[in-house]
């Protein structure tokens, strides 16, 4: 039995993704590696010994002793404002993981994949996209990414760069760029019919986002004829922060 131990994790770099989110890169000596889609528990301890922990999805592929998390700052949150605004290179947290053996994509899987992201739900799906690229996988991927507007996109440059075998559609729920053909609005059947795969291709579908989004997207996939067993979901909430 493999016991998950807490490991010291030192921040070695960070990249802002949006006005409220940043990607943190940690060096975690002894890190056992992970699969795309898995998450970790992060523990923070204050000077006086008070500590608290949160779960975050891993944003990157396995990379030796390095792990990357992308964290959205939750207004008035206890932990996320520290991670996104205060923590500096050289500061430490503890990390335990990887956790979760269900919402994962393995590079040896060659089936078509449909990724459906709502807001910060893109994070574990990005780990799948990056793992696919790193492995030179030929599994065809499509990503449907629903977000408030262009300014809220994580990994925007990387997702716009050509990546053979990966098709990306952005759906904006509130603000659309000038000349956009799709009006602002929540995800609809047509978005998944056009941006996804026909159900007959039998893709593995991974849906991640806030509860309302995941409920809606999973129901739409069922309505399009996708098999319930092929739809894996993971919920993100702004809860608790």
């Amino acid at each position: 039995m493999r016991r998950l131990v807490w490991r010291a994790a030192e921040l070695v770099g960070s990249t802002p993704e949006t006005a409220t989110a940043r990607t943190l890169r940690f060096r975690v000596p002894g890190w056992p590696g992970h699969l795309a889609g898995q998450h970790v528990d992060v523990r923070l301890t204050a000077e006086d010994g008070y500590s608290t922990q949160r779960s975050y999805s891993l944003a990157g592929p396995a990379d030796g002793e390095y792990v990357e998390l992308t964290v959205e700052s939750v207004p008035d949150g206890e932990v996320s404002p520290y991670l996104t605004e205060i923590m500096e290179a050289g500061d430490q947290v503890e990390i335990r993981g990887p956790v979760g053996g269900w919402f994962v994509w393995r590079a040896e899987n060659e089936r078509p994949v449909l990724l459906v992201a709502g807001g910060s739900g893109i994070v574990p799906l990005m780990a799948m996209i990056r793992t696919r690229r790193q492995a030179g996988s030929r599994a065809p991927f499509r990503l449907v990414y629903s977000l408030r507007g262009p300014d809220w996109a994580y990994y925007a440059d990387e997702l716009r760069r050509p990546d053979p075998g990966l098709d990306v559609s952005f759906l904006y729920t509130r603000t659309v760029p000038e000349g956009a053909s799709r009006p602002a609005g929540r995800i609809m059947l047509a978005d998944l019919a056009e941006g996804g795969w026909p159900a007959g291709h039998g893709p593995d579908c991974f849906v991640c986002g806030p509860t309302g989004f995941v409920e809606a997207a999973a129901d739409l996939l069922l309505a399009l004829g996708h098999a319930s067993e092929r739809i894996r979901t993971e919920r993100f909430g702004p809860t608790g922060g």
Binding site: L44, Y50, S55, Y82, G101, T211, R235
Partner: protein
């Protein structure tokens, strides 16, 4: 961590709250009700709903929706603890105690495998379902239990991490031997006691 110097996160202060002794280690409080599930939400119309207990001897006890609602109802108010670290205090439910459902079930089994519409399973010792510790609930906060929270009915076993409180519950198999369920075979702890912080396999 006894004997080890813990890692301090420089500049982290946190927000201590006074929950008394109601918050298990590593948990934080939420006011809303987050949802976690592995796949699409099954929609089970009450007229097609049934709940069954299968014994190790192969005897099945079944309840239709009207039969289930006709059983004595209880209204537990309990604290719930999710393995993803949130806890919610004083949640109020309505449903039927497992003591009531198991009253006329003849069994010497030690384990229960709970199964749900949609295919989810979770396991626990049978004794954790007895003596006022578990219910099949169909109302939350005075209202019908919504599908995303497990409606029409879910198991409620508040003394274990909340993944044990299977949503969309369909039945319970009583077994002589323990048989790990969905999350229990995906790296999570087999028992899941929040007070002993049994989150993952090996904890």
């Amino acid at each position: 961590m006894g004997g080890f110097v813990s890692i301090i996160s420089r500049g982290f202060h946190g927000r201590r709250r006074d929950e008394g002794d109601r918050l298990p280690p590593g948990q934080y409080l939420v006011e809303d009700f987050p949802v976690l599930s592995a796949g699409p939400t099954p929609r089970v119309p009450p007229e097609r709903w049934e709940f069954a207990i299968d014994t190790e001897a192969g005897v099945t006890h079944r309840w239709t929706w009207p039969e289930f609602l006709a059983l004595p109802q209880e209204t537990p108010t309990v604290d719930i603890h999710c393995v993803t670290e949130w806890s919610k205090l004083d949640t109020s439910w309505e449903g039927v105690s497992l003591d009531t459902l198991l009253e006329n079930v003849d069994t010497a089994a030690d384990y229960a495998l709970v199964h749900s519409y949609g295919g989810y399973t979770t396991n626990l010792p049978l004794e954790d379902l007895l003596d006022g510790k578990a219910w099949i609930v169909h109302r939350f906060g005075g209202e019908e239990l919504q599908p995303q929270h497990g409606g029409p009915a879910r198991l409620l076993v508040p003394h274990l991490y909340f993944w044990k409180s299977a949503k969309w519950v369909r039945g319970i198999r009583l077994l002589d031997d323990d048989r790990p369920g969905f999350w229990e075979t995906a790296g999570y702890h087999n028992y899941g006691d929040p007070w002993r912080e049994q989150r993952y396999e090996g904890d």
